[in-house]
């Protein structure tokens, strides 16, 4: 068996009176990109903080690269972007990146970090003169500067617009593409789906699912949707189309839920070639997530 890059073994951690994580077990393998997905308060940040040695488990064991998190950090094996992480005033971008590089045993070259995080033109800029998106890029640069094997990102794109988010994830993926591991927290389903090989869904401090995005959708049996205008459509025939599970009609629009959108759509267009307002949506992870977390409550 390959040794995991990070593992939490039956970890419980209290926060005040509540349990932030409860009996949580999780392994991050080499070269894996894992999303911790869950609503606020699900225990994502605590899980990452346990991995970083910022928080101690009340029960259970946390190991990173076969050692305690603090030791792994001292060895330069981890780079992290925390949820809150201001940059010290009056420091220059390259200066800060270089400072952090100097702390690690096998850092990336300064130029490589600046290119990776698109900071070439900002190298001489002071941190207080940066925009929000630029600051996040600097923070990513600080996380990767030391060339760590494990990159930990806690909701890194929370304040970014769509374009910034896409390029941020591209840069992070570039960094780990050489066989490094990435674990990140997010509450955005589409982000987890697009970026991660594996999604670990958390709810109330417990793992409620741990699988690839495709497996997750399949295992929950969520359906794709095919929608169109109702005009001239024989509803009684539509119900009998292949793979259709449910038919809803709301304000002149029909929505079919299907477990095989290809088959349903072909048959539908054969039946009603002049169909208007057609819309097809893939199965939504959101439904999988709701199904899983609802199963937890009550």
């Amino acid at each position: 068996m390959v040794e995991p890059v990070a593992c939490l073994c039956e970890v419980t951690r209290r926060r005040g009176d509540a349990l932030a994580v409860e009996d949580l077990s999780l392994e991050i393998g080499p070269a894996e990109t894992v999303a911790l997905l869950g609503p606020n308060g699900a225990g994502k940040t605590t899980t990452l903080e346990l991995m970083l040695g910022l928080v101690r488990p009340d029960r259970g064991l946390v190991r990173v690269l076969g050692t305690a998190p603090g030791t792994a950090i001292a060895r330069g094996a981890i780079g992290a972007m925390l949820q809150e992480g201001g940059l010290p005033a009056r420091a220059g971008v390259a200066e800060l990146v270089d400072l952090v590089r100097g702390l690690y045993p096998r850092p990336l070259a300064l130029g490589d970090v600046l290119v990776l995080c698109d900071l070439g033109e900002l190298a001489e800029r002071r941190v207080e003169a940066l925009s929000g998106g630029e600051r996040q890029r600097v923070r990513l640069a600080l996380a990767v500067a030391g060339g760590p094997e494990l990159l930990v990102l806690d909701e890194p794109t929370a304040a970014m617009d769509v374009a910034a988010r896409l390029s941020f994830w591209k840069r992070s993926a570039d960094y780990v593409s050489g066989g490094r591991s990435l674990v990140f927290a997010t509450h955005r389903l589409e982000e987890a789906e697009a970026v991660a090989d594996r999604i670990v869904m958390l709810s109330r401090g417990r793992v409620v699912a741990d699988a690839s995005p495709e497996e997750l959708k399949a295992s929950i049996g969520v359906r794709a949707r095919v929608g169109f205008f109702r005009d001239r459509v024989p509803l009684e025939l539509v119900e009998r189309l292949p793979a259709v599970d449910r038919v809803e009609v709301v304000e002149g629009r029909v929505t079919l839920q299907t477990f095989d959108p290809d088959r349903t759509l072909r048959a539908l267009l054969e039946l009603v070639p002049e169909l208007d307002g057609l819309e097809v949506n893939g199965p939504r992870l959101e439904e999988a997530f709701l199904a899983l977390t609802e199963g937890q409550s009550g």
Partner: protein, 245 residues
């Protein structure tokens, strides 16, 4: 670690306004007070100007020591920079050590400028070696002020409170340390208190040096005890703050 201290100092050097205040204010105050209040109330057995010079040099050490360490540290804590450093291989405590080093570095010009101002405007003349000893003494006496500043930065939760706490410490140590009124003119309780404060201890060391007397053991003990005490509390506060929660 050295790179960290270097960046600390560079960052403080770039804060021109704050730096100017910390370095120039004590000297400016000395010149102002000596010009306005020529009549001296002290009787330490030395030229009054040299006496006041020591008092304002202690002010320089106190002001610079407290304000170059505490409030910036509180700010970096508040914005999460210290936490970010904790997830790098930087040895724990380096952030604090960096602040101590930077604050000590900036206390030196604060003290030196008062001595220079005294020499230039009041015509005080000592031999070079005496100046050097005096500067070194008053500079080292900034250590408990720096440690106290760091303690404030670690113990107080937000930057504004850290500013207030540093200001309060400045005023209390200055007034109660007998830097405004001769300790012997204070009520008995306050006189005893004054002799136990590091401001008075630092000034006594300075006066002894100016007079070329032996260093008073009591003043060395007071400054030493304050340095050790605040350093110990600072270490404690740091461990409470920096260990895993």
């Amino acid at each position: 670690m050295l790179a960290y201290v270097r960046l600390e100092i560079l960052r403080q050097l770039r804060n021109r306004q704050a730096l100017l205040f910390r370095i120039a204010l004590p000297a400016a105050m000395f010149v102002l007070f000596r010009t306005l209040l020529v009549e001296d109330t002290r009787s330490a057995g030395l030229p009054p100007d040299a006496d006041a010079m020591v008092v304002f040099a202690v002010f320089g050490a106190l002001f610079s020591g407290l304000f170059a360490s505490g409030p910036p540290l509180a700010t970096e804590r508040a914005i999460g920079w210290l936490r970010q450093l904790r997830v790098t291989p930087l040895p724990p405590g380096s952030a604090v050590a960096g602040k101590v080093a930077a604050a000590m570095a900036f206390a030196l010009p604060s003290v030196a400028l008062v001595l220079i101002a005294a020499a230039v405007t009041q015509g005080i003349r000592f031999g070079m070696d005496q100046w050097a000893v005096l500067l070194a003494l008053l500079w080292l006496a900034a250590a408990p002020f720096v440690a106290l500043g760091v303690l404030i930065g670690l113990a107080v939760t937000d930057p504004e409170s850290a500013q207030s706490a540093a200001s309060l410490s400045l005023i209390l140590l200055w007034v109660l340390g007998g830097m405004v009124t001769e300790p012997s003119d204070l009520p008995a309780v306050f006189e005893t208190l004054a002799h136990g404060l590091p401001t008075n201890g630092a000034a006594e060391l300075g006066w002894a040096s100016v007079r070329e007397d032996a260093m008073p053991g009591s003043a060395i003990a007071v400054v030493g005890a304050w340095t050790a005490g605040t350093a110990a509390l600072t270490t404690l506060a740091w461990h409470r703050l920096a260990g895993p929660r």
